[in-house]
């Protein structure tokens, strides 16, 4: 299933990207090669000998709307400068200008390393007045976007994982003490009546149940940092009971299902930050929803495990 979803995500993102790009090209969304008319004013005067002259750029809103066939409007004026280059006079919008679409996209795609939207001036006669600007042609925006998103998030993935090293070490260390001192075993006895029915494959005295209990407790109190190491440790204990190296057992799927429901008594810190005291009114619906969601998760994990296809792939099935 994961194979198909994974491949589906990649293939569909390619198809959608190329579809949107072809639509943009056939609709000439970016007006490649055509000059956008704008008004130039020189607050510090125009000096034809200078390589770089500050300029104030004004774009008439109706002109902009009809040129790009958009309902977005530009700001009254933008700071920028003229730059004399080999190709001719270049107009550059100052970095950080709040540009309307599609100028913002054109800027992002073609601005190279400076982060400034830039284009060549045409029909410019000093000192100032109306001129046209031709931006670099913009094509296949989405195709570029999916490629750079893939690269960015590959990096993010490694960063997230490596960022866990410290917290993982801390809690795995504490868990080792808990194991050696018998806390886990005591916990197993305590939670056995509740957890045993959910994890029938796990022997009654196995430390996996204790780890699962710790994982669920941490989740319940909104301690995501601790919940993840506990969950990983629980998975490791479950893996010890697994006859296969790379195939999930029913217990592992059950643990995963309970975790995706993520029951919390405390609302997530982020919601608290965003909603302030409003969160108080939301605690109750959040709790109802996650409890019901968890019940669905447990039932789904249990029932799906009984389907012939999944039963056949169960590493612990009795031959």
């Amino acid at each position: 299933m994961l194979n198909y979803i994974w491949a589906g995500l990649i293939i569909s993102s390619f198809l959608f990207a190329i579809g949107y790009d072809i639509r943009d090209i056939s609709g000439d969304k970016y007006r490649n090669g055509q000059p956008l008319l704008l008004e130039l004013a020189f607050p510090e005067g125009y000096d034809s000998a200078a390589r770089r002259v500050a300029v104030e750029i004004r774009i008439a809103p109706d002109q902009y709307a009809s040129f790009y066939r958009t309902d977005q409007a530009p700001a009254p004026s933008y700071p920028g400068y003229l730059l004399q280059t080999k190709e001719g006079t270049q107009l550059r919008f100052a970095a950080g200008s709040k540009l309307p679409e599609p100028l913002a996209t054109i800027g992002k795609v073609s601005s190279s390393r400076d982060g400034e939207l830039q284009g060549l001036l045409t029909g410019f006669t000093p000192p100032g007045g109306t001129a046209g600007v031709v931006f670099e042609p913009v094509r296949f925006v989405k195709l570029n976007a999916i490629a750079s998103a893939a690269l960015d998030f590959a990096k993010t993935g490694a960063e997230i994982a490596l960022g866990l090293v410290g917290v993982l070490s801390l809690f795995l260390g504490l868990l080792k003490i808990a194991e050696d001192s018998g806390i886990v075993f005591a916990l197993v006895k305590l939670v056995r009546p509740i957890l045993r029915p959910l994890f029938p494959e796990v022997p009654a005295d196995h430390p996996a149940l204790g780890m699962i209990a710790l994982n669920l407790t941490a989740t319940l109190f909104g301690l995501g940092n601790a919940a993840t190491p506990f969950g990983i440790k629980a998975m490791e204990e479950l893996q010890k009971l697994n006859k296969s190296e790379d195939t999930a057992t029913n217990s592992m799927v059950m643990l995963m299902a309970i975790n995706t429901a993520g029951i919390q008594l405390v609302p997530p810190v982020l919601l608290l930050a965003l909603m302030g005291t409003q969160v108080n009114t939301l605690i109750f619906p959040i709790l109802i929803t996650s409890v019901l969601g968890m019940i669905v998760a447990i039932v789904a994990a249990r029932l799906l495990g009984r389907l012939p296809g999944y039963r056949g792939s169960d590493p612990n099935r009795k031959a």
Partner: protein, 181 residues
């Protein structure tokens, strides 16, 4: 509700210190060489983190591509008429889709919706409940199964997605019921 919340959040202040202090203290009491035990266990931290990397990269980059491609908007348009039939508001569809895919993405959506509809809006309440009542399924799958090297996840993904879909619907209904939206 207020006092219950205060009590719980007060309690949650103590859970972490209890683990941090209680475990070594109890170990000492039981004559466990606590420092040696800790270091022995902590050694694993790096390997586990490194073991997760390929799984996390695989999941994250595919989802990032999907989001960057604009497929979400198209999917929203296709699913809208269907979901309208069961009373699922169109405004929440992006949130419902992205919740199982990306934690940071769904957080960003909550922020967007607050800016767009205001904190008091029923849509923001629904989105917040969706955010708060569910975990990022694909992240959990990558991390938990990745840590033990499980590649064949069997029914984990369908079970997680069924639960997510149910939670999204329940979120809409409970908020409607409680706030008469």
């Amino acid at each position: 509700m207020e006092t219950v919340r205060d009590a719980i959040s007060l309690l949650s202040y103590f859970v972490l210190p209890l683990i941090l202090v209680g475990f070594p203290l109890y170990g000492l009491f039981k004559r466990v060489p606590v420092y040696e035990s800790f270091v022995e266990g902590a050694k694993e931290g790096f390997q586990v983190a490194v073991r997760i990397i390929p799984y996390l990269v695989a999941i994250l980059f595919a989802i990032a591509m999907f989001r960057a491609s604009g497929a979400m908007e198209a999917l929203t348009q296709v699913l809208n008429p269907v979901l309208g039939l069961i009373g699922f508001p169109a405004e929440l569809l992006p949130m419902a889709i992205i919740r199982s895919l990306s934690g940071s993405g769904s957080a960003a959506l909550v922020v967007d919706m607050i800016n767009q509809y205001g904190q008091d809006s029923i849509f923001v309440k629904m989105a917040s409940v969706m955010y708060g009542s569910s975990e990022t399924t694909f992240y959990v799958i990558a991390v938990y199964f990745g840590a033990v090297g499980i590649r064949k996840t069997r029914h984990a993904v369908p079970a997680g997605l069924i639960a997510d879909a149910a939670a999204m619907l329940i979120a809409v209904w409970t908020v409607r019921l409680l706030f008469h939206g």
